[in-house]
């Protein structure tokens, strides 16, 4: 017995050195699924830290409201676990962008510092403008604003972004 143990131990030790894993590409794969709002609603500092936490098994997969049920499903599929509903108190909101009220903005630059993706342009004492195309709707700029001049605006559908709806399932409707 001891001999078997020793031999196997030797082989395993050798293999451990030979087959060491350098980098964990799993984090990248998880990060690719996350919506990159960098909103921190998951309790981590951003999407990447959350991805690292998931990869290490320290965080659950259902903490990301912007990713929604779809995101949870994709994570579940990647990790081979059961999808579950979003956690308590985390509900997805409609996609929105932040808009600065030109009348009240005092140009304090606090929101510029808060924006995780540098989507707000402006200088001290100058009116700030949010670049809508780059805004992720994370709402991180709302609390720092001393004059509450930033509001969230739901993105409306137009002819280009309009989506075909799910065909009504006749059997179920009749039920």
């Amino acid at each position: 017995m001891a001999a078997i143990g020793l031999v196997l131990g030797g082989i395993l030790g050798w293999a451990a050195i030979k087959l060491r894993v350098q980098d964990d590409p799993l984090v990248e794969k998880i990060d690719a699924i996350l919506p990159q709002t960098q909103c921190g609603q998951c309790g981590f500092a951003g999407c990447k830290p959350y991805a690292e936490a998931i990869a290490k098994g320290e965080a659950d997969i259902n903490l990301c409201p912007p990713g929604g049920a779809e995101g949870v499903k994709n994570l579940a599929e990647l990790l081979g676990v059961d999808a579950k509903p979003l956690g308590e108190g985390v509900e997805p909101k409609p996609k929105s962008v932040a808009v600065i009220d030109e009348n009240t903005c005092i140009g304090c630059t606090l929101c510029i510092q808060a924006c995780p993706v540098d989507a707000i342009v402006g200088a001290a004492k100058q009116l700030h403008v949010i670049v809508a195309a780059q805004c992720t709707g994370c709402e991180l700029c709302l609390p720092p604003c001393p004059v509450d001049c930033i509001g969230m605006q739901v993105i409306k559908e137009d002819v280009v972004t309009w989506k075909w709806r799910y065909p009504i399932h006749m059997m179920k409707r009749a039920a």
Binding site: P35, E70, E102, T104, I106, P116, D118, D158, T161, W164
Partner: protein, 545 residues
């Protein structure tokens, strides 16, 4: 003919109903009091409006300029006054509104001066710019800006195919056009051949249009071959027609130009002739009005004509009409609002009645009978795509090559369980597109976030270095000065912030509604201007999305 024809798989034979509208010549329409010209009539970026409410315009005057590469111009259909540039109902399956120029005609129908072009002695790129400014877009239904398609790029376009198959039931506008205007059409083809430098020109027409085939054969010069293809829907699909005529499959996800072939609709060739040889911009097209109307037929319709007026021109809808269809019954869509105008994409309007278009039967479960797979011209397995689309498993739906689906409707047509398969595919496709948009913006956000983190890190380092230097200095001075004063800079900043806060509080109060009752007209104007500016910013953000 000696040319060997190839047979694509699948396809169906729906009732043609073509005799209803192809017996009478193309009619002209009387001048209408009002035209609505949408600025987005083509695939790509909408045209940039050049006029505002109150401007007067002439027929053929450019009212919207091409904006960006994939875009083309829009022109006034008649002379008159612009009454509004605002969102209006457009022929779109969503029934949504889109920006349009509303023109009230003055009845004179005065035109700008049309300048014919000596295209034979013209540089192809100048010719293409002309085509773009003339507002040409493919009239087969996809309305892709024609000037781009006339650019061979780096590729050799050895074969030019003219699509006159018109495989959709009911529609006869290309049929009538080919019968009546074959010589002009052929001149348009010559221009295309000139721009592309193609050696072979093939004109494919389904064999249920013998008159059109005869007319074109009579008009076609040597080197243009008119080929009758068997009537089988969707034989007029670009990929299907290309395969029928040449045996070449357009690569998935690619264009026919990748294999040296360019396909144009015959209507586009005719419009090209008018744009280049007559100098007349694309302000009209031939459209079919058929179905449950008094006098079905084809009309030369000005772009911008409200569809309700088109129905009226055809003698009006008969009693018992139950709605209208834009396009053919296989790939068209329900018209939500008959105020919507004819655009460059509208080739047919069908007035429905319950006998011609009975209500759809109830959807039953899929039994995987494979009828859809046998009917699919793209050799797909629609029932598998349906199985996963229904469960909203888009990844798997896509793995069955969902994006090779051309939405021809053959699968839905044959399905014994009456499953609206194409609707499921359209649903899945738009969901996937949405996800791709989101993915793109997420990738962008990631890059920007990473850069920000990197920048902050760098700033911190810089600061730390500075601080270290400062600390060294202060240690030197500490000998003389025991107590370090609080950072005067920070104090100052705080004070400034507080002052600004107070100011803002005040201004906020002034713009709250309680003060709006007794505003001077000047202030009111200012507020209006700001509101307008804001609205514009919002609009921009929307169009950016």
């Amino acid at each position: 003919m000696s040319r060997k024809l190839y047979t694509f798989n699948g396809g169906v034979h729906p009732d043609g109903h073509k005799a209803m509208s192809n017996g009478t010549p193309i009619r002209a329409m009387t001048l209408l009091p009002r035209y609505i010209v949408p600025l987005r009539q083509h695939i790509g970026t909408p045209a940039r409006p050049l006029v505002a409410a109150g401007d007067t315009v002439l027929r053929g005057q450019t009212i919207g300029a091409a904006d960006g590469y994939v875009s083309t111009a829009v022109h006034a259909p008649t002379s008159g006054r612009v009454v509004a540039v605002e969102p209006r109902a457009v022929p779109h399956p969503s029934g949504m509104f889109d920006l349009a120029v509303v023109i009230e005609s003055d009845g004179a129908d005065r035109a700008i001066e049309f300048q014919p072009l000596d295209w034979r002695n013209l540089d192809p790129s100048a010719l293409r710019n002309r085509v773009r400014d003339m507002g040409l877009a493919g009239l087969g239904g996809a309305v892709f800006p024609s000037y781009i398609k006339l650019n061979p790029g780096g590729q050799k376009i050895h074969t030019l195919i003219l699509n006159g198959a018109e495989c959709e039931p009911w529609i006869t506008c290309d049929d009538r056009l080919m019968r009546e205007r074959a010589p002009e059409l052929v001149r348009g083809i010559e221009i295309m051949r000139h721009a592309l430098g193609s050696e072979t020109v093939l004109i494919g027409i389904e064999d249920n249009k013998p008159e059109a085939i005869a007319a074109l054969r009579a008009a076609a010069p040597a080197g243009m071959e008119v080929i009758a293809v068997p009537t089988r829907y969707p034989g007029g699909g670009g990929k299907q027609l290309t395969y029928s005529l040449t045996g070449v499959e357009t690569p998935a996800g690619g264009r026919s130009t990748d294999v040296g072939i360019q396909v144009f609709n015959v209507g586009t060739a005719y419009s090209l002739y008018r744009a280049v040889e007559l100098g007349e911009p694309m302000i009209s097209r031939v459209a079919t009005i058929t179905g449950h109307v008094a006098q079905p037929g084809n009309f030369e319709v000005r772009v911008g004509t409200p569809l309700s007026d088109l129905v009226a021109a055809a003698g009006g809808a008969l009693a018992g009409a139950s709605g209208e269809l834009i396009g053919g019954p296989m790939m068209g869509f329900d018209l939500r609002d008959s105020d919507a105008p004819v655009t460059k994409a509208v080739n047919c309007l069908i007035v429905k009645n319950p006998r011609l278009f009975p209500a759809k039967p109830i959807e039953l479960p899929c039994i995987r009978c494979g009828a859809c797979a046998q009917a699919c011209p793209a050799d797909l397995q629609p029932f598998e795509m349906y199985w996963y689309s229904r469960a909203k498993d888009f990844g798997r739906a896509q793995s069955y090559n969902l994006f090779d689906c051309i939405e021809c409707g053959c699968c839905s047509y044959v399905c014994p369980s009456h499953i609206p398969l194409v609707d499921y595919f359209r649903f899945s496709k738009s969901e996937i597109w949405e996800r791709e948009r989101e993915k793109r913006s997420a990738d962008q956000a990631r890059v920007r976030h990473e850069f920000k983190v990197f920048r902050l890190e760098r700033e911190k380092q810089d600061k730390a270095e500075k601080f270290a230097k400062a600390a060294e200095k202060s240690r030197e001075s500490a000998a003389s000065n025991a107590v370090t004063p609080a950072d005067p800079d920070a104090e100052k900043k705080k004070a400034i912030l507080q002052a600004a806060l107070d100011r803002a509080q005040k201004t906020k109060e002034t713009v709250t509604p309680k003060n709006t009752e007794n505003l001077t007209s000047g202030v009111q104007k200012e507020i209006d201007a700001i509101e307008a500016r804001r609205a514009k910013v919002e609009e921009k953000t929307e169009s950016h999305e």
